[in-house]
Amino acid sequence: MTIPAHRDLVLDVRGLRKTFHSRNGGPREALRGIGFSIERGSCLAVVGESGSGKTTAARIVAGLESATSGTVVVTDGRAGGKTRHGVQMVFQDPYGSLDPRQAVGAGLHELLKIHGMRRRADRRTRVSELLESVGLDDRHAGRYPASLSGGQRQRVAIARALALNPALLILDEAVSALDVSVQAQVLNLLADIRERTRISYLFVSHDLGVVRQVSDTCIVLRNGRLIESGPTADVLDAPRQGYTRALVDAVPRPGWRPRRRPA
């Protein structure tokens, strides 16, 4: 994929490979050389089934995992620090994504404090802003995760990620564990946040309906290889690869019938 130089990229990934070596059994190639990029302010969806390498790719971009080879360039428009604050991540499991022994407000205060917001009054204003931006309010600041619903927890996780003003937010199956009626709220929230700010999303999901809703472009992974990429509407409406077509066809919708895979 060639990229014209004038495009303002927030993320540029090239030739990404990752091989896992387990202690028993041989090496497993999770990613076999994939490349993609995200323009500032846009949303790229990484689509694939289990074992496709989509989560591994996201974790490498976040810096939670190191690549075997390849380059990951994040341009967050700020002076580079030691860690990549420019990239934050929201995880799938709403129950594991928050420290169970820390109140919501205290957690946000802690984050802001270690990032240089010294004055308590400043932090308090910012915490209120952050909670409001994810559809919560100051009453939730004193609550512990155990007293929040799954949807509220994911909202708090998003607020925590936004606290550091990231240029890129990675959402790793962030709405998959939520009930459909709550999932729609969080998807709308994510759309609103993107409208308000210039944040970019890397949205990892197996759910093509969700992907259609949130992303501008998408890439389809299978067994660690990139098999199709392009604007989301084009890829889902007119897939060029048989595998992508099979993925689209397998999504239940009105009038749909399950089909046996050809053996």
Binding site: S181, A184, Q185, N188, G209, R212, A246, P252, P254, G255
Partner: protein, 330 residues
């Protein structure tokens, strides 16, 4: 007159002992499955759909009490004695779980798992059981059945293992299969495959199915009738195609509208708030706090089932709002 249904739940209540008091998990659930019919039970977390299935299998945990009537082929399931219950569970009905790996002994081979039950209950001898298991495995598209019988669960993929579970369910030739989110843990392409196989098998054998899922689109596609549950009660029952084309209960309509489509982009009409459990619901309609059509009466008085357009809908205002729901959906 139509014959009596094969399986019928009437006015089922399930309550859980909780801190000295009782908590309602399921309230006034009535539902029937005819011979050869498949019925979908759809709901979000806490709606009571899985609890209802557990009650139907008499698998409720300790401290839980089921009241009402659950009839299978005319007999009352809730009062079955130990031996009849064992017979009911091993021959008349079968259960397919969401997570096959959690329900198979990892230290035994697939063959041992499949044949153990039917041999133990004396329905077949080991050779017959193995032969029939091989035949069924071929039917569900498992190639090389003889070799698979000697493999262990960890050597099989999730999709393959769920097909083994279908074989296990079909082996004793049950008349009704309870499927509790059987494809939720699977990838979509595998889900389509496994669902197609399951449907093929139950149609061929005239087996009835009660299919529990959170996915309304999936349920509508694979069942004849649907029952939509919210907060421990059924809010709407009717033919699957009609419900998904023209929902009559505001909750069903809301569910259909907030599901993102793969074919078009539009702002999702989310249902405000979160799903509640039966014990959290107040005196009125349990959906009233989230319902855009709720009026004073909805908050004060629990709605009873009303028949409309060949469906059963638990909503006070169903006649007034039926057409507005459709408007909103389009």
């Amino acid at each position: 007159m139509t014959p009596a249904p094969l399986f019928r739940i009437q006015d089922l209540h399930v309550r859980l002992r909780h801190r000295g008091g009782e908590r309602t998990l399921v309230r006034e659930v009535s539902l029937s499955v005819r011979s050869g019919q498949s019925v979908g039970l759809v709901g979000e977390s806490g709606s009571g759909k899985s609890v209802s299935i557990k009650a139907a299998m008499r698998l409720l945990p300790r401290g839980t009490r089921a009241e009402g009537r659950i009839a299978f082929d005319g007999g009352d399931v809730l009062t079955l004695g130990r031996r009849e219950l064992a017979r009911y569970r091993s021959r008349e009905v079968a259960l397919i779980h969401q997570d096959p790996r959690a329900h198979i002994n990892p230290t035994r081979t697939v063959g041992a798992f499949l044949t153990e039950g039917v041999v133990h209950t004396g329905q077949m001898n080991r050779a017959e059981a193995t032969e029939r298991a091989c035949a069924l495995m071929a039917d569900v598209g498992i190639t090389d059945a003889a070799r698979r019988l000697h493999q262990y669960p960890h050597q099989l993929s999730g999709g393959l293992l769920q097909r083994v579970m279908i074989v296990a369910a079909l082996l004793p030739s049950p008349r009704l299969i309870f499927a509790d989110e059987p494809t939720t843990a699977l990838d979509v392409t595998v889900q389509s495959d496994v669902m197609a196989i399951l449907l093929e098998q139950i149609r061929e054998r005239q087996v009835s199915m009660l299919f529990v899922t959170h996915d309304l689109d999936l349920a509508a596609a694979v069942t004849d009738r649907l029952a939509v549950m919210y907060a421990g009660s059924i809010v709407e029952t009717g033919p699957s195609a009609e419900i998904s084309a023209r929902p009559l209960h505001p909750y069903t309509a809301g569910l259909l509208q907030c599901r993102p489509s793969t074919a078009e982009v539009k702002r999702l009409t989310a249902i405000p708030g979160r799903p509640v459990a039966a014990h959290e619901a107040g005196t009125g309609c349990s959906f009233a706090p989230r319902c855009p059509f709720a009026v004073e009466r909805c908050r004060a008085e629990r709605p009873h089932d009303r028949s409309i357009e060949g469906r059963t809908v638990a909503c006070h205002r169903v006649e007034e709002i039926a057409d507005r729901l459709e408007e909103r959906a389009s």
